[in-house]
Amino acid sequence: MSLEIKIDDRTANIQFLERDGGKLKIDIDGKKYNVDVVMVKEGVYSIIHKGISYNVELIENKNSKKYIVNTLYKTYDIEIIDAESKYLKRKKQDEADDESIISSPMPGKIVKIPVKAGDKVKAGDTVVIVSAMKMENEYKVKKDRIIKDIMVKVGDTIDEDQPLIIIE
């Protein structure tokens, strides 16, 4: 069994060679690992490799093929790449050429929308201001654009990644 994994900017090839209970032989980009893996609770793994005890905590992202992975020193963004995700990725990229969606990476409240549908905005212009945890975050456009649609109104409570403004 093999997998392709995107970790930050690197893409790694994983091959599962042997399995015996929690003891695994795995090949990562040609390097072989003999590890003892156990899920101690939901989302928390204990991994022993060459006697070293590692703790790894992971959170599945909305898309079940994306993970945020915490290790002792660093947090990684990991994506499992299989045929389906390759297809979706291509599809999404095609769409991105036609229209863009402005959204907030965290839940919050709409404080201000200084534009309206049909407006022509310049690169760097703020199109929406979202407040979260006592801080206000301004979302700007990177290029000259036209506001196609505004999906929210001032005062709305929004989820993370919820489409706020569609630009052309």
């Binding site: 970790i7 990562i28 899920m39 989302g43 905590e57 020193y73 965290m106 945890m133 801080m135 975050n137």
Partner: protein, 504 residues
Amino acid sequence: MIKKVLIANRGEIAIRVMRSCREMGIKSVAVYSEADRTSMHVRYADEAYFIGPSPSNESYLVIDKIIGVAKKCKADAIHPGYGFLSENAEFSERCKKEGLIFIGPSAYAINTMGDKLTARKTMIAAGIPIIPGTKEAIKDVNKAVEVIKNIGLPVMIKASSGGGGKGMRLVKDEKEIISSINAAKSEAMTSFGDDAVYIEKYIESPHHIEFQILADNFGNTIHLFERECSVQRRHQKVVEETPSPLMNDEIREKMGETAVAAAKAVNYSGAGTIEFIVDNDLNYYFLEMNTRLQVEHPITERVVGVDLVKQQILIANNEKLKLKQEELKQSGHAIEFRIYAEDPDKDFVPSPGVIKNLTEPLGTGVRHDGYIYEGYEIPMYYDPLISKLIVWGKNREEAIKRLKRSLYEYKITGVKTTIKFLERILDTDDFKSGKYNTHFIEKNKNVLMSPQKSKGNFENIAIIAASIDYITKLEKLQPKKPTQNLGNSWKDFGRKRSILRLWK
């Protein structure tokens, strides 16, 4: 005696106060906004009442609502915690009018200390040292030169309408005085349309050191020594410790006496904090007074051995202070780290969310004051402070090592936190040697802000964990081997003696 206290706050401080209430046999009453129904302070309290929508100006800041609940549930007193209504003179006054005990100082003390200019005047009158300078605009340049010579160089020329570093000039040499004033004036005019500037002594290596005060209603005022709070990011304290590495016994005693005098100058009652700016030569100047419990009060509690919230309640109950200045002493060293739900790799943007896994630091010398729990969602409406990690050591060196150990143990998934950032503070030479001032974070920015380097095998270990999780879930979705159990549910966990068998 006070029998029931309403805590007009949320988060860790609400629980902190409730803990002391419980130890005193006092019932605690929580109030909560819409976003806080599942918050720990609601679960911890004896009673809990809803006070409105999530934004604090519609709930925690609405005096009428708080007073209404207090009267309805027959509370004797209100503890405001810190933030929210804690330094609101109107609230203090209103409680008094309604026959409720406000656990804090009088409106007079809050007002006097709350207004910078009034505070400055009151302190001058009481003989408390303040940062030398003129608060009035300079009209006559020659007179300015005379004032500056009196204050002593270096000084800072600041625009009266100023801000953001515009219209500011640092003067180190006598010869530069006149040219600097003119330059500042001209820049102030351009920037703010107003050329008024004033003079303030420039503190080259400023330390933020504060003294904890306790005062009863009978004129007894004591201090519980200092807290060093110079590690600040955007004027927000990040680390606090006591004793201050800068201090010696002589200056400690002197500053303590000054702090007591400052509190007495406003007839202070309750727990309060006198903040000083201190330079490397141990000259100190009154900065302001916080007329409430501080976030960082636990380090004083640990080193002096006094429960400050209990003292607040006893004072509010009109009891005389039993603590005597001469009996108090500092024992060992305590450091507090504030843990925020912020992403240090992305300019400290707040990171609300659901806590998935939580491992709190424990063991000898560790106190952890938090309010989150696994499954709790940190709401986006309030301060992103998750918890305060307070460690004690026989000396500063042991405290630092213990802090490092505690941060190692402290694991949170689901939100980004400042834990990694704090670990990097502990690794700087400036912090380790105790030789730091309020420029610390700016000075060490490169080290503190650099993203963590991956060490050894961690990246591949992360890959292993994610790929195994993925494959395990994939196999669960394909019921081709219905008898094969992947051990994910509680029950299966038990059956398998906790060893997860990924494959047969």
